[in-house]
């Protein structure tokens, strides 16, 4: 069983939902990444998504775009990234997901990339520009090696959700709103409806995580109440990282994480 599956099983036994945190590796530097990860773990995050920067992140809003640029300008390369993952892996058993864009994997070769990532300690992948139609080689390469987390949107048809569910492992990533990451339009009724509809289709076989624009304990609470098995918070962490000095980063992240995590524990 993959670390991600184990985590969801463990949480389910405790009647908890998952808090998934996203950070951009190398933003603004390696030390910040390590401190942020420690803070996330201390604060009770269940799964961590590590972003690897891409020059053209077309599904991302200004916050993650900027973090990508800064990280690349600071020299984040794959070797460095995998070394950071290895360091994190030595400290913790938390599930780690690599989020980046298709070209990064394609360029190295899907198989080669996935083997290297797995050896470093990565448990799954999220590629926002990978559609199921183009996923044959990617899926074959990830089989028995890593979870493939596909995204769905509130406008995805029922039959397509069924097809995507079949090809997904780990969890299903429901994009909460029409927009890029970090979008600030508040909680929409169509999202709450989408969560219910998707849960009917997955029938508990695959957890459903909700992300994009999720930034406060209140957001987390509402999505969990609507039936989400996990919530994904990203841009809000990057904003906190941006404004917090290095010596306070771990504790600030831990405090914020705790405030989010609290909402995933049913009382």
């Amino acid at each position: 069983m993959s670390r991600i599956k184990e985590k969801f099983a463990e949480l389910s036994a405790k009647k908890e939902k998952a808090l998934i945190a996203y950070i951009m590796v190398g933003y603004p530097n390696e030390n910040a990444t390590i401190s942020a990860v420690r803070g996330l773990i201390k604060g009770g995050a269940d799964i961590i998504e590590l972003g690897f920067p891409f020059s053209d992140p077309l599904a991302d809003g200004p916050i993650i775009q900027n973090a990508s640029t800064v990280s690349l300008d600071n020299g984040t390369k794959l070797n460095k990234f995998f070394n950071i993952v290895k360091k994190i892996r030595k400290e913790t058993d938390i599930p780690l997901i690599l989020m980046t864009y298709t070209n990064i994997l394609y360029h190295k070769g899907y198989s080669k990339f996935i083997v290297e990532a797995k050896n470093a300690g990565i448990d799954g992948f999220i590629l926002p520009d990978m559609s199921i139609e183009e996923s044959k080689e990617y899926l074959a390469s990830a089989k028995n090696a890593a979870d493939t987390i596909f995204l769905i949107s509130p406008n995805t048809t029922k039959s397509r959700i069924e097809r995507i569910t079949k090809l997904s492992s780990g969890f299903l990533y429901l994009v909460a709103v029409y927009g890029t990451t970090g979008v600030k339009i508040g909680i929409q009724n169509y999202t709450l409806n989408a969560i219910k509809e998707v849960k009917k289709i997955t029938k508990g076989k695959l957890p459903v995580g909700v992300g994009f624009g999720v930034s406060t304990p209140e957001d987390v609470k509402k999505y969990i109440k609507a039936g989400a098995d996990a919530v994904i918070v990203g841009s809000a962490f990057l904003k906190l990282i941006e404004k917090t000095p290095q010596n306070k980063l771990e504790s600030s992240i831990a405090t914020f994480t705790k405030s989010l995590k609290r909402q995933t524990v049913q009382t």
């Binding site: 891409f54 020059s55 053209d56 992140p57 077309l58 599904a59 809003g61 775009q65 640029t69 690349l72 390369k77 794959l78 864009y101 298709t102 070209n103 990064i104 394609y106 360029h107 190295k108 926002p128 520009d129 990978m130 559609s131 139609e133 183009e134 596909f150 995204l151 769905i152 949107s153 406008n155 995805t156 048809t157 397509r160 995507i164 994009v175 029409y178 927009g179 890029t180 979008v183």
Partner: protein, 395 residues
Amino acid sequence: MKYPKDGRFGEFGGKYIPETLVPAIEELEENYLKFKDNKDFKRELDYYLKQYAGRPTPLYYAKNLSEKCGGAKIYLKREDLLHGGAHKINNTLGQALLAKKMNKKRIIAETGAGQHGVATAMACAVLGMKSEVYMGYKDTIRQKLNVYRMNMLGAKVHPVKSGSKTLKDAINEAIRDWITNVESTYYLLGSAVGPHPYPVMVRDFQSVIGEEIKVQMKKISKTPDIVIACVGGGSNAIGTFYPLVDTNAEIIGVEAAGKGLKSKYHSATLSAGSKGVLHGMMTYLLQDDEGQITETHSISAGLDYPGVGPEHSYLKDTKRVKYHSATDAEVIDAFLMLTRTEGIIPALESAHAIAEAMKVAKKSKKSESIVVTLSGRGDKDVEEVQKYLSKHVKN
């Protein structure tokens, strides 16, 4: 490849897109297939192409330029004479009409040199729709005349300050807008790039160029011996080439070699790139050793792009089309040569094709014919050329 149902030209193309766009892309393909051969739709488009845009465009024998080169006869396909001053209007009228049939009220577009933005603004004005255009900040400065034109035509121009601040980033930002406003908005892509069905749709709307060349050359003698067009994303080139790939013509696409292919400062994707995934398609790209897209350079904003239409990648790999390149310096020479011998000021993009034609003509027989697509006129570029000359030409 007539209509690739799987969206692939060989291994190139496809649809690598965020899931939110899937219903929009499916709706687009469905409607395109419904209308592309529809008689009324074709009649309406034909009306606008003739009465509004000024088709057919002449195939002009450039006698003075041919004699100066001393070889083959050079013919210019005068897309620069179209309304708006470039071939872009062929595609914007087609897609804007389609958007209207789809009841889309809001049109967004990207633009490099501003020609596609202007053509979008014109098509939307005449068809009564609202348009917003994303343009790299760097391009809004070097092509500011076109920014003024778009504003006056009623389009809202969004300068894009992310990344390299050129066409690539304008496309990123247009896609982000589309993801956000997917229900209401039609993305009117101007080049033969992006996810399927854009590359094939843009090609089809631009194929009027090659179709007319075929008919016009027949009246003169036969099919052309050599056909040349410039390639950035590659819309005027694919529109020129596609109707002629089944003939015996030798076909040459010309990319922007900037300050030279050995320097980092060029945009010659097919000449110097490698395969990858960007803007929803698999194609040749300019990228580093880890798949990060690299910054490009060209004196012409319209060719300043690190990708290329997937059908061009296919035509390169199957060796049906040769892809060469011209440096900024060669382009300026060609720009001045055409201006002075024929009294035609070409767009800097089109001057790449002229530069290649001058090289090829010298090596060809007088009995041979070369057709060059002059994709746009150069009024927008005179300031840039003047700047280049004052910097580089020592008197």
